[in-house]
Symmetry: C2
Amino acid sequence: MSGRLSVVGLGPGPAAWMTPEASERIAEASDVVGYAPYVARLGLRGDQRTHASDNREELARARFALALAEDGANVAVVSGGDPGVFAMAAAVFEAAEERAAWRAVDISVAPGVSAMQAAAARLGAPLGHDFCAISLSDNLKPWAAVERRLRAAAEGDFVIALYNPASKARPSRIGEAFALLAAMKAHATPVAFARAVGRADERLTLTTLGEADVAIVDMATLVIVGSSETRMIAREGAPPWMLTPRSYGGSR
Amino acid sequence: MSGRLSVVGLGPGPAAWMTPEASERIAEASDVVGYAPYVARLGLRGDQRTHASDNREELARARFALALAEDGANVAVVSGGDPGVFAMAAAVFEAAEERAAWRAVDISVAPGVSAMQAAAARLGAPLGHDFCAISLSDNLKPWAAVERRLRAAAEGDFVIALYNPASKARPSRIGEAFALLAAMKAHATPVAFARAVGRADERLTLTTLGEADVAIVDMATLVIVGSSETRMIAREGAPPWMLTPRSYGGSR
């Protein structure tokens, strides 16, 4: 008899940002599958089997988890942030599509707080109006597709959240993205680099599209680029708040 | 001495989707401000003051909460979903900008699971690749701005999550939006209407851009329109899963 598979969102890091549903799914699991540092943080019981992997082989990990569930296990596939947003849920359903036995597995997704939401919470309300989320990773899509989406996001004057802005293989992709955006958007557009939000080494950097130093951006950084309406609210003795107001184009 | 103000995300409804941080902020609050049905669900203690309001006057509610905090209260402003996504956080910072005493208030945001994430979790992985979130409300922006963003979202081939797709004042806005999108995107594009996800009256409807019956869309509905890569995965004896794969344009 086939078991169950839950794709579980751990949120951006701290336990205070993980939903009760996610905790429950992990507690119920006989087997926990995921990226090793995430699995290590979970404080699992001795009777729970763990299957830690590296962070690259998402599809292999999904197939492995589905095979466990096919054999009757109650599997939790853990994922940072929200598994539905640039994380494990897509890989699990892609793998499930491959085999009838896997399409018959009871698969559910426990959503979570994604990195852009944690970053936004720390910064003020930069996602207060229409926005897009774009992954700058070109592992699984041509760079031309990234450029097309950046261009469309600028044309639509969306706030833009950028995931996976840099990697060892392509450290310059955030620089290329900013060059494209700076040719289409005002140089005074507010920009935030939110690194490791909720973790001990959290670092928030507020800058502008024209003055941003992209060299400080790494894979743990979530980048938010404002719309034409996004502004900084100055405060005495504290960093400014980043706000995209609810109104647009002078409508109040 | 000035108090504190937390803008707290309750998630889409069920307690299992509300973060421990959100629960803690509410438990610590002396005063809870929010839309009446949300406040009624919270099970507050007798020593906590409640200030329920209707759902329209976001800015007035934000000013009221800031005035309480200015007087020393520990205020929780509660918001459905994620307060940073089409919810109360932007209104609070807009209001705070108005007065120096309010800019000095210790304001924090507790993020939450937003409606599009709950809908995605139920559907499969429709937000598995680049996406945008657009509010169809034209209370605070001209309809031309909505159209510009819909057009850009189609040009960028983003998955599109639509918030506030209908209202009593403008029941036809989802119809106008779909007409615009149908002129730019394939009629076979997968579409989901996810109504009241996580609540007793939850209803998921899977359709296509060409065949969608927008008459069933109300204010409790979150709409997801696929990209050119979004597909349905058929299953025996169960509704299909909606998937936007991690790869794009044939890249694997």
